[in-house]
Amino acid sequence: MTDVIAPATTTTYREAIREAMSEAMRRDERVFLMGEDVGRYGGCYAVSKGMLEEFGPERVRDTPLSESAFVGAGIGAALAGMRPIVEVMTVNFSLLALDQIVNTAALYQHMSGGQFNVPVVIRMTTGAGRQLAAQHSHSLEGWYAHIPGLKVLAPGTIEDARWMLTPALEDPDPVIIFEHAGLYNMDGDPSDGPVDILTASIRRPGSDVSLITYGGSVPKAIEASRELDEEGISADVLDLRVLRPLDKATILKSVATTHRVVIIDEGWKTAGLSAEIAAIIAEEAVWDLDAPIERVCTAEVPIPYARHMEQAALPQVPVIVNAAKRLVGR
């Protein structure tokens, strides 16, 4: 006899995001997508490929290279009742729209004494690994996570790529979604959803050391945990998922279990997210620690073009494995 096992439905990270957007636009007339080359070109990372054909140019709206104006237009449209998804090609380009994101989207609820809210979703690519050099490869999630008034998401799995958009669009406040460029071709099971945008998630449970990370480093941490398994070290892989507000409870619970922490962050160490997480642990769980906190972050250089140099700058699996081994005394 033969076992008939239905093959798990697999999809890529890119397709998962596209399906999430398409489904939202089918369900809600107020949702539309706008950004540079999202329409005819199909998206600079091909995320929105085919959407123009389904939804037309009003709802899959190509914009000029005017980050500040079209991000601001998304904010204004959100204020007037729409549910815009604004795509910015990369986090580096989003700096041209920082005024609108930081001075308008994040502040209007507060400055208006609660009268106006800005239900906009801004998606942008982040991260390195594709030899795109310094102006297309940085990880500035921590900059946005610094700002009260924003919510910041970092899908690091197919499931989150597929399902995080739904609660993001339902959220009354501005939500920034960071898509890691290195994950677009990753495939896996999108599951059936839904997911929340409040909590961190344990991707592989373990008891000896916590590997705390997010976004593009999640697959690296999972791979490191498999290698550690082979050496008899049980790693708890914690995917932060939501970078603002941080889910402290899940972080502290993991630390209380493992007593050892490696933080993996593709951002730089200095004044970054890894520093914030380390500070939370130092403030609230220092007596749970059996060893100093280790951080595996991007070297403090702009991301270089040459492949060997770029890879040397980024967090890598062997470095994560070694850091974990040091903590358990191996």
Binding site: S68, G76, A77, M82, S112, N117, E170
Partner: protein, 323 residues
Amino acid sequence: MSSGEHRLHLLERMLRIRRFEERCAQLYQAEKIRGFLHLYIGEEAVATGVMEALEPDDAVVATYREHGHALARGMDPGVVMAEMFGKVEGCSRGRGGSMHLFDSSTRFYGGNAIVGGGLPLAVGLALADKMSDRSRVTAVFFGEGAVAEGEFHESMNLAALWDLPVLFCCENNLYAMGTALERSESQTQLTLKAASYEMPAWEVDGMDVEAVEEAARKAVESVRAGGGPHFLELRAYRFRAHSMFDPELYRTKDEVEHWKLRDPIELMKESLVEEGLLDNEALSEMEDRVRGEIDEAVAFAEAGSWEPVEDLTRFVYSEVSSS
């Protein structure tokens, strides 16, 4: 309303802004109002005239010099004054102050103190209206200093490209803080910039409230009818300092006095008196009415309360789902 009554109404609207702000200046000296205070005195005809052309469900985006716009838009002087005092009864619960007046009921979207920052927002408000087939207009006010910002050019282009119902109201008072237009722009004829975006653009005497209203009505009508964005350059002059900290080293007293000869309120008064529509008695009745309103606004602000410090972290995120 007859034309005479309407002109008297315009005068009273301007007078209300003038007297309100004169009181603000006194209250600033008395330390009831703190922070930055940017007075609109001299430019009242601009906000007054443009607002006359708007409907209640149109949207307004203004700058940090927006007391006049808020009042002309119909916001209650009491809640505006309470906001300046930092009281919880203020239009923004004391979270915004003079530069950040907001009012959802009149669709008054601030109070934006980033020069040029309101323009992309206005484009988006108009985009939502266009996508939803609503015939609303968004009026956005900004100074001539904003035309040096990238956000001005990006927004003008986008609004024109997408044919959006935006009325761009450039209040040219000749100085961006202390920097004169000819010291900051290679091309000082601002309507040419708008024309380069294929946008109808008119120069308007911003010291003449009737000229402003007429131009605004014509522009709003065209915008509402689907004529795409329009640009008004409203030429006016700020009689007071940029803010309460400005020693005015960048312009001469003679220049200021020269412009005061064209005070929009005095011009309107003279014209009404000349035509026999206003006499001293009617004028003093009007002054009394305005003073009464402002006294009431100040009393409301004085009687207001301080938001409890326990509420500090409220309104960072919405408390009620918007969907």
